[in-house]
């Protein structure tokens, strides 16, 4: 973790009572490199642990691992074949090494659902999930930020209370249910939004580069496809954002309220700065910190909500893929997805540490 280092008052004062000049920010690059290296090493350790845990998940569960991998509806023949194929009749440590070796090769098994290697399936569906997570996160940050400011500024008044009540209810409702309700309201009752998917079936989709339709539209300059893709993005994004809103708004409101009570705000008013500048420039800037630090926790929710929303809106990402596999008791991909999600999690925490140290000038990477 980045540590706080505050510079101390220098004890020896010069004749003019000034003290030495502040240090030049030297050697920053070396410190950054060391920090990144350390964090990535930790990430690798965690990934190894994850792989080991998932290994034990599949091999030391009450049920026969071969049965687990084959699915409950498989015949004895299939089960035996799988047992042989995966070497499940071998001693544990042999299995473990084979498992780790295959992971290193990127072999995550084969999906019974798609009949393709899980790795391929993930390579195709992970970008699509990202194509939903990223816009959802951006919208969430903006909306929670604004609502948090409103809630803090109008703390005792009707407007502030309304914001808090609204966000609490929005986030207490289960996200998949909210998604269904949205679908009911805006596709069925008032048909203005599409029921799901990344793009309309009637329109030719954009050329596939990243598998993310809105991004591909931008990259190929295909405006009608972009409009269509964005239109399809509205409901899923809204559902996810509503689910996360309470946490973010409360966080932001707390941070803003803390800042408003600080002395520098009074000084800023005292020197005649307009209230709007104080809020937008100073208070907001200071409130971002606590927001960023909690990003790790929020990301866990973000992943969860995205998976659930994908299912409702048949958004062809990892979540949808997973659910389809689960439906036919094909559990092999689950391991692959767990790995990917965990790896992403580790990456996010590193990134948020970096962002945090960038955002607070008082912090030096230790």
């Amino acid at each position: 973790m980045a540590e706080r280092v505050m510079s101390l008052d220098q004890t020896a004062s010069s004749a003019t009572g000034q003290g030495p000049l502040p240090p030049r920010r030297r050697g920053a690059l070396e410190r950054w490199a060391a920090f990144l290296l350390r964090r990535l090493l930790w990430g690798v350790v965690v990934l190894l642990a994850i792989a080991t845990v998932t290994f034990f998940l599949t091999h030391y569960v009450p049920s026969d691992p071969a049965v687990y991998l084959a699915g409950p509806s498989a015949t004895t023949e299939v089960v035996n074949r799988i047992r042989e194929q995966f070497g499940l009749d071998q001693p544990v440590y042999v299995q473990y090494f084979r498992y780790m070796a295959s992971l290193a090769r990127g072999d995550l098994g084969t999906s019974l659902f798609t009949k393709r290697p899980v790795f391929e399936d993930l390579a195709r569906s992970l970008p699509v999930t990202l194509g939903l997570i990223v816009p959802a996160f951006v919208v969430y940050v903006v909306v929670a930020g604004c609502l948090g400011c409103v809630a803090a500024y109008s703390a005792g008044k009707a407007r502030g209370v309304l914001v808090q009540v609204f966000t609490m209810i929005a986030s207490a409702a289960p996200v998949y249910w909210v998604a269904l309700v949205l679908q009911f309201l805006f596709f069925y009752s008032i048909p203005i939004l599409p029921s799901g998917g990344q793009h309309s079936l009637t329109l030719p989709g954009p050329t596939t580069i990243t598998h993310i339709d809105w991004l591909d539209s931008v990259l190929t300059g295909n405006v009608p496809a972009l409009a269509d893709a964005l239109w399809h993005l509205v409901m899923p994004t809204t559902a996810i954002v509503l689910g996360l809103l309470a946490v973010g708004t409360r966080l932001m409101a707390g941070a803003v309220q803390d800042e408003l009570g600080k002395i520098y705000v009074r000084t800023a008013r005292g020197k005649g700065l307009p209230e709007r500048t104080i809020l937008l420039k100073h208070v907001l800037r200071a409130s971002i910190n606590p927001f960023v630090t909690v990003t790790g926790i929020q990301f866990g929710y973000l992943i969860t909500y995205t998976i659930l929303v994908e299912v409702v809106f048949t958004w062809p990402g990892m979540g949808y893929y997973l659910e389809q596999c689960i439906q036919i008791n094909d559990y092999a991909p689950l391991i692959g997805v767990t790995m990917v999600a965990a790896a992403g999690f580790v990456l996010i925490s590193v990134v948020s540490d970096i962002i945090y140290s960038l955002v607070d000038p008082r912090i030096e990477l230790a």
Partner: protein, 325 residues
């Protein structure tokens, strides 16, 4: 000229007003020190002058800047007064600045907020200001964050920010309390110089009589929300009329003579105690019955205004006055 007339400020959750009938004038070109213990209401006075008190206060009386009442200004007019006509320097410079912007940026934004100068010119002005408070290498300091500077540098920067728009009145709330003695005396000397150079009227809040000795032209002694004594510095320090003033001076002499910190015995009243009479009565060695019952009205003796039923008419011990510049 800043004229405070019969100012009364009460926080709605407390029984006793923080300021009770305070009257004081600060002319351009003079330094008026308000001295008192913590809790005496002196910071409230400073904040009141710029209408920086919260919304849960009740205010009586007026504060006039060149004839205009601060409390009846519109929001826009008030914003104009703040920073431009009245400058403000806080006690703790570290918390006066936001930690996320450089010192120069925060001074420049003050200039930009009140003038239409482009960024480049505002920045040049900022550097000039920093130079005028005798900071070496203003460029480097301007690009530094507040936590990277020493206490003395920060306080100078805060002073530069307060004076950035050449206000005619400067209110400084305990500007030296967070500094060591050497740095503090340098800062006070600087303040004196700038004050003379630009003919600024300074309202300086402090708890330290030594600061009064160093820079004050006039001094106002505050106790529990009232001004016990207001007069010329030499007069008040040599011949204090208000018993509390005397006690303050005595404790300072004691400290100087014996090097021991004694202070005035007793504790000032909190905001939850109502006091029908003179607030200093419980601690006063000369208090009589009338002091507890009736609040003394201001009495003028020579050029000093005192609020006491029994102002000191005895010649006090000769007090050495140490002044700077």
């Amino acid at each position: 000229m800043l004229k405070i007339s019969n100012l009364t400020v009460g926080y709605s959750r407390s029984l006793r007003p923080a300021l009770n009938g305070v009257s004081l004038e600060v002319g351009t070109g003079e330094v008026v020190c308000v001295v008192g213990e913590s809790g005496s209401g002196k910071s409230t006075l400073a904040l009141a002058c710029l209408r920086l008190l919260g919304s849960d206060v009740e205010i009586g009386g007026t504060i006039e800047l060149d004839g205009r009442n601060i409390f009846s200004l519109s929001a826009a007019e008030l914003r104009n007064v703040r920073g431009r006509e009245i400058g403000f320097v806080n006690q703790d410079a570290l918390s006066s600045f936001s930690a996320y912007w450089t010192v120069g940026e925060q001074i420049a934004e003050t200039i930009e907020a009140h003038t239409n100068l482009p960024r480049r010119i505002a920045w040049e002005r900022t550097l000039d200001q920093l130079a005028s408070v005798r900071i070496d290498n203003p460029e480097r300091i301007a690009r530094s964050y507040p936590h990277e500077l020493s206490g003395g540098q920060r306080q100078r920067a805060a002073l530069a920010m307060g004076l950035a728009l050449r206000p005619r009145i400067l209110i400084a709330d305990e500007p030296t309390s967070a500094l060591d003695v050497t740095t503090a005396s340098h800062l006070l000397a600087l303040l004196r110089q700038l004050q003379r150079e630009y003919s600024i009227g300074v309202l300086l809040i402090t708890h330290d009589l030594r600061v009064v000795e160093a820079v004050a032209d006039r001094v106002a002694v505050m106790y529990a929300g009232i001004l016990g004594e207001v007069g010329a510095r030499d007069e008040v320090l040599r011949r204090p009329r208000f018993p509390y003033t005397r006690a303050l001076i005595d404790s300072l002499d004691l400290e100087r003579a014996r090097g021991s910190l004694k202070g005035v015995p007793g504790v000032p009243p909190g905001l939850s105690e109502t006091l029908p009479g003179c607030p200093f009565a419980p601690r006063c060695t000369r208090a009589e019955d009338i002091c507890q019952r009736m609040s003394p009205a201001p009495v003028t003796i020579g050029e000093t205004v005192v609020r006491c039923h029994f102002p000191d008419s005895v010649e006090g011990v000769e007090v050495h006055v140490h002044s700077v510049g």
